[in-house]
Amino acid sequence: MTFEPLSRRRLLTRAGALGLLATIGTLVTPRLVLAAWNKAAFESKTLPETYKLMGAEGATESGDVQILASDIAENGAVVPVQAVSKLPDTTQISFLVEKNPNMLAALFDIGPDMVPDVTTRIKMGQTSNVVVLVKAGGKYFTATKEIKVTLGGCGG
């Protein structure tokens, strides 16, 4: 991928132009850490490396993290996934797909005003484990689920 994502500063400048300037005061609360787009993590090609670049080495499986998704996706282009954390002080929720060329799909930094319950839709190139990685109390926890991607239609 050859592009330069906007720096946080530029985002804020743009956002300011859009009338978000008034919120700067809120943005600098310590809870919502404003990281720049983590290019290295999004472009890394192995799970351990991605964890390392996210500062999530040593993440452990936790029953308090849930990944909700159907066992089979009818199409890999759109796979609905929901992550729920029951851990106190959850500040980040990420979705990773083990067998995608780049594992990290999406990362959500959530403030104290959020219920740690996020749903999105991701692309999967093939049947794979999908990992929800949660940061809570400064530590990382995971939940993993295999989602089968099927071939549909007549054209395949």
Partner: protein
Amino acid sequence: MSTTVKSLSAVALLLVLGTASAGAGEGPWGPGADDASFKAMLKSGFRSKGIATLARLDQDETQAFCSDPDNVSGKTGEKKRAEIEAANLATVKWPSDGVWLGDYKEGEKVAQSGRGLTSTDKADMVNGGNCYNCHQLSPKEISYGTIGPSLYQYGKLRGDTDEVKRTTWAKIWNSKASNACSNMPRAGHMGIVTEKQIKDLMALLLDPASPVNQ
């Protein structure tokens, strides 16, 4: 491929439209769907695109017969049906070197692929057999269709006698040889797959080592 289809399309549409309603008076169509109106609609409604030329709308005798649901259901056309089956059986080309079975692993690939011969495909691409679209074969593939019967354990249930091989080969080469209006394409006869691909499909169905027979 193109030669087969061309020779088939040589059978004029006119003949087709005559045959379609043969034995059924006006056919099962209501007012307004007479042959002339239908033909005009086809002519104005389609255009050639890529390898899918307008000639593909010209039917052979089998297609014309099977475009009448009364013929398909057996309500009409009993005698014609037998003639069509005999004519299709006569088209079957048996393996040129006497070898029936190829490589089941290659056969699995042919069975998986539904590609080829559409208006967006190139003429020189390798066509698929479309098998999984309609049949269950290897139990490892959960995404299979049900328009055709399950072929899981096909060989295991039947053995590999010459009779089974002949029947299976004929079914793949020209499905209409045994069932005039089968939903299954005439894979060999219409040039959809090659003789080698059919051998590989034969192995997928009949080789004891094939995943189909586990």
